[in-house]
Point group: C2
Chain length 289, copies 2
């Protein structure tokens, strides 16, 4: 059996009892380590689970799937995934390979940021398509995520923005030299995401486009959701540019039309409470019940 086990969002204690039982009983347990991270390290998980974990980077999962699935028809193998196994990413490819080899699979679900974002008060019912914000480079500054946010905003929907993660990246220099030297991992902060969005807003303004998002749009920054030191701050896009959210992972939610109850919840996390008093005047597109 191939088990896909969600670890939830915070630390080692966010595993479910069902998940822990399976982790302890499997022949081999892989820890998927490239689409998300917990606030604790592999060693902490190993100590808590009482067993060794095999780190599986993207290369392992995508190119060495046969090794992960080895003997899984006759014994149990688990892949641990931060969040829910089918949350922000998907492991369909591994499941399909397993099915082809006659290996059954079983999913043990857990919390994902796709749902946990609801803790800020914006109702999940009112979220549109989820978008990913990628790190810009000097040469490549895609704006496609803005257009998806725009589409959600125009239908009054909120948007969850998942922020980029770069793990085991090679510099162009090392890539060209064929050197397997990796850069330190990078996790996009709310500030970086906001700054890219502010730049796009400015670009679109200069193009004379009607703006679906401005410096005054109410947004929510979320960091380490589920961990004891989680941080949630609500304010204008401009305000979030300078809030310190601490270590990874960060996410950003952009409001659409808000029900008064949603607005009341956001006030609990306000960077500056007075912002929410002026909301009708400053940015009327944000507040429609």
């Amino acid at each position: 059996m191939l088990y896909l086990i969600g670890l939830g969002l915070g630390d080692e204690k966010d595993v479910t009892l069902k998940g822990l039982e399976v982790i302890r009983s499997c022949a081999r347990v892989y820890l998927e380590a490239y689409t998300s991270i917990l606030t604790v390290r592999k060693e902490t998980l190993e100590e808590f689970y009482g067993r060794e974990l095999i780190l599986a980077d993207r290369e392992t999962v995508e190119q060495e799937a046969d090794e992960i699935l080895r003997d899984a028809a006759v014994s149990d193998v688990a892949l641990l995934v931060v969040g829910d196994p089918f949350g922000a990413t998907t492991h369909s490819d591994l499941v399909l390979r397993a099915a082809k080899a006659g290996i059954q699979h079983h999913v043990i679900h857990n919390a994902s940021i796709m749902t946990a974002v609801g803790c800020c008060g914006l109702q999940l019912y009112n979220f549109g398509e989820t978008v990913s914000i990628v790190f810009w480079t000097d040469m490549w500054k895609p704006e496609s995520f803005y257009d998806k946010i725009r589409r959600n905003r125009l239908s009054g929907m909120h948007t969850l923005c998942l922020l980029d993660i770069k793990v085991k990246e090679q510099s162009i220099e090392n890539l060209m030299k064929g050197k397997k030297v990796f850069e330190p991992p990078r996790y996009m902060t709310v500030n970086q995401a906001v700054d890219q969005l502010l730049e796009i807003v400015q670009n679109r303004r200069e193009l004379g486009e009607e703006l679906a998002l401005t410096e005054n749009t109410i947004c929510v920054g979320l960091a380490r959701v589920g961990a004891s030191d989680q941080k949630i701050s609500a304010g204008t896009l401009q305000q979030l540019s300078s809030v310190d959210f601490g270590g990874p992972l960060h996410s950003l939610a952009i409001s659409g039309c808000m029900h008064p109850l949603e607005l009341d919840m956001l006030k609990l996390f306000a960077v500056e409470p007075s912002t929410f008093e002026q909301i009708n005047i400053e940015d009327s597109s944000t507040y429609l019940s």
Copy 2:
């Protein structure tokens, strides 16, 4: 402290270790029992957690919030919610009351059908707005959920349909007599949801409307996701009308445009594999990569 603790989706073992620790240490623990259910009863949870739970129906949570929050400023009180506390429903009102009374709140997240639905292979990235399908009565047959599905389909997005739950309902007769006699709980089945959708499709066809959904649209029925006897079946809307999904809870996903990998995943759950071979011919709007 007010704890909002998600119980996940399946049975008593889907609680997280963090959640279980808090459940065992709180002064009072309420079990929210009107927006969703597990596959096990309150007594099973009590035995497993090793403590008494207080059943909280809608009336308790909405009208007796002060009782739930009693002493929570100086001791710990927990509200257990099936799924994630801010998943398919929201408990914002209770959180806001707590904040007003100077009581802090803490959320312990868990799996929700809003994310777990990804286990069928449809990618969460491609889901639009979630809809709720309500039980029709002889007098009241709203079609608004169809229009939301239609909007998602037209933008190529999948739709998660949450199916109606009726708990502690009074018959009109008992309501008029002022008798506090309640009907047995009702949980909408995939079949019932599908039959209502088929009726709407037929109505719209008779009106000469261009259909965004037909008898041949690929859909996925999901029952008891996360439990050992979960059932997932993929097929046309018409096919799902006669699949037996067993006990509650059921959900329904309606496909939008599908990537070939999504389609391959759905085939693992096919009611009738040959349906998926003919998909281009039968319903070309469904399959666009």
